[in-house]
């Protein structure tokens, strides 16, 4: 939640020459990009192009085979496990399905990171958890279990949990997957609101065109055959000026013009 942006220099996320893959298969090669602080940055591309793989490698769930990831100017993927753990406090991650812990209530879900990483007392933790749940529009649902709420609410509760430690960077994996258009749009509005309020840097993995045109400041597009980035820039500019047929096709749904969404 930086209020004094001028004090902070350098990009929030810096990726250089990243190579990702599992076992013997290389999925992405030589991926390099930076995300400025306070930016809403989308990683886009068709299914199977390696978006989620890239995200897993960014947040340290998998380690890259080559290349480096830096957060807020400090090495992350090249650092030792203890340093990585310390850095993980600086970012929040919203999984596709919310990934709430099913045996805990929403309040307990949000409180867990606070209990783990802060010295706050129980009353303060409960208040803060209620505040975070209120911010995502779940006031009154603090004592519900994940099984008792809808998919969209689960996602919002997952967002409240990701926000618990006031992260400098938030990662979203397919935030609109499985949501109706209205709920999906509300989540987009929430993402923008979080950025306005806290200055959070936001990295979203998505192929939802409506969200991409609505809220993305800048995107990178991954492509399966290229095993890497094929385009980078503001989505509307890319859709109108890019000469790459793959980019044009994706961003215009194959129609050649920006869809009315």
């Amino acid at each position: 939640m930086p209020t004094n942006e001028s004090q902070l220099q350098g990009p929030a996320v810096e990726v250089t020459g990243l190579e990702c893959g599992y076992d013997d298969t290389v999925i992405l090669k030589d991926v390099s990009f930076t995300v400025a602080r306070g930016e809403i940055f989308f990683v886009i591309g068709g299914s199977g192009c390696g978006k989620s793989t890239l995200l897993r490698h960014l947040v340290g769930l998998n380690l890259p085979r080559q290349g480096e990831v830096k957060f807020l100017g400090a090495p992350f993927s090249a650092a030792d496990a203890a340093t990585r753990r310390a850095q993980q406090k600086n970012f929040g991650l919203l999984f596709q399905s919310g990934a709430l812990w099913s045996s805990l209530t929403l309040r307990q879900n949000v409180a867990l990171p606070l209990e783990e990483y802060t010295t706050l007392n129980r009353r303060e933790i409960a208040e803060l958890a209620a505040l975070k749940l209120g911010q995502v529009g779940l006031a009154g649902y603090e004592d519900y279990f994940p099984a008792e709420i809808s998919g969209g609410m689960k996602k919002r509760a997952g967002l409240a949990r990701a926000l618990a430690l006031d992260p400098a960077i938030l990662f979203f994996d397919e935030p609109s997957a499985g949501l109706d258009p209205v709920t999906s749009r509300k989540l987009d509005e929430l993402i923008v609101e979080i950025r306005e309020l806290f200055g959070t840097t936001i990295v979203v993995v998505s192929h939802e065109l409506a969200s991409i045109y609505d809220i993305a400041d800048r995107v990178i597009m991954l492509e399966k055959q290229a095993q890497g980035i094929v385009a980078e820039g503001a989505p509307k500019a890319l859709a109108t000026t890019s000469n790459d047929p793959r980019v044009k096709e994706f961003l215009t749904r194959g129609t050649g013009r920006i869809p009315h969404l």
Binding site: L8, K89, T118, E127, A130, L131, G134, A139, E142, D143
Partner: protein
């Protein structure tokens, strides 16, 4: 972190000025760092007027919010005036939200009255009983379909399951049955040696293993191993909506998933019991030859003289029953599982408990029935 600002701790300076107590916040406020509490700052004499300023704050998050909120709450409690007009509008908005969630955050009461609890438990027990009856009924119908149309049965799945619950459980069944044979032979040896009746160890071990312990130990091992696996697999399939997908296609989940498993267990259990009998008798033979110095050949002849086909037959019949019970309880609990990680875990536990309970209860029933029938 490399940020220079990160190194500054959250700081609070308090001084008495024109407008009462002036609280100036500065430094970096991170939720993960420790901060001072308002109560310890002001001590025993609370001020009547507080003004909060935060111009010198480099970076802030919920940590600062909680601190200012603590000041506001303390002022409200002591009747003092708290002036937050100097803090940025963003912070004031968030303070408002915090106050709202503080007021509205009433814990949800999940406790039921005693009568409601009893009522719910009764309704629950009745619906569970119905579910069990329905499930057993479906299995019987599915069994009838299997007899009428054997080519429609999923033999490949059944053979895979037979491999899993039969061949793969040989090592653990061997170990347990051998040790049970050893334990029984030891117990018998200590008592029978007092009367010079050493050779009857073979009779005791032979009969007990073939009629009771062989089938039962094999069944208990399989209840833990295979029954739990059935429940976890089916529970997970239910959570993933795989079972709904079958029903939506008009395929009975009992035909498709349950029958191959039950048939596999029903076929494998008697074989495993037979194997367990042999290994158990060998355990007894080892103890007899080492402790009582009875030659294995003599032990074997004595065993042959006392154990007849009807003993082995009753044991195998029991084993078949146990196998069906383990398969039924594993699949039933799996299909009843709640659609969550916890539900799958509970289903596996409950499958093992149900299977062992049914094994012991049915064994008691067999003991009485075989006694009356004289077999």
């Amino acid at each position: 972190m490399s940020d220079v600002t990160e190194q500054l701790p959250p700081r609070v300076s308090v001084q008495t000025g024109m407008e009462g107590l002036e609280v100036a916040l500065s430094g970096v406020w991170r939720i993960t760092d420790a901060r001072r509490s308002w109560a310890e700052l002001v001590g025993a004499n609370p001020p009547t007027r507080v003004k909060v300023q935060m111009e010198a704050v480099e970076k802030w998050d919920s940590s600062l919010l909680l601190f200012v909120f603590e000041i506001q709450e303390a002022c409200r409690a002591s009747g003092a005036y708290c002036d937050v007009s100097a803090v940025p509008a963003k912070v004031r908005t968030l303070l408002g939200q915090l106050a709202a969630s503080h007021n509205s955050s009433v814990p949800f009461d999940r406790t039921d009255s005693f009568l409601t609890g009893v009522g719910n438990a009764t309704v629950d027990a009745w619906s569970k009983a119905k579910e069990i009856m329905q499930f057993v009924g479906e299995c019987v119908l599915s069994g009838a379909r299997l007899v009428r149309l054997p080519h429609k049965f999923r033999w490949k799945d059944c053979i895979d399951e037979m491999q899993q619950c039969g061949a793969m459980s040989l090592p653990i069944v061997s170990l347990i049955s051998f040790l049970v044979g050893v334990i029984m032979a030891y117990q018998a040896a200590v008592q029978l040696r007092q009367f010079g009746a050493d050779i009857y160890v073979a009779d005791l071990v032979g009969l007990a293993v073939v009629r009771e312990m062989g089938p039962m130990m094999a069944a208990i091992v399989l209840a833990g191993r295979t029954g739990a696996a059935f429940a976890a697999t089916l529970g997970n399939m239910k959570a993933n909506e795989e079972i709904d997908a079958l029903s939506a296609l008009g395929i009975s989940p009992v035909d498709f998933l349950v029958m191959p498993r039950i048939v596999a267990l029903g076929l494998m259990m008697p074989l495993l019991a037979l194997y367990a009998n042999g290994v158990g008798i060998m355990g007894g033979m080892v103890v007899a030859s080492i402790v009582l110095e009875i030659p294995p050949a003599a032990y074997w002849i004595e065993t042959q003289s006392i154990v007849d086909l009807s003993d082995i037959g009753t044991g195998l019949f029991k084993a078949l029953t146990f196998g069906l019970l383990i398969g039924l309880s594993g699949c039933l609990r799996g299909l009843q599982a709640e659609r969550s990680a916890m539900g799958v875990g509970r289903a596996a536990t409950s499958a093992v408990v149900t299977a062992i309970l049914l094994i012991i209860v049915s064994n008691t029933f067999f003991a009485v029935a075989f006694n009356i029938l004289g077999v």
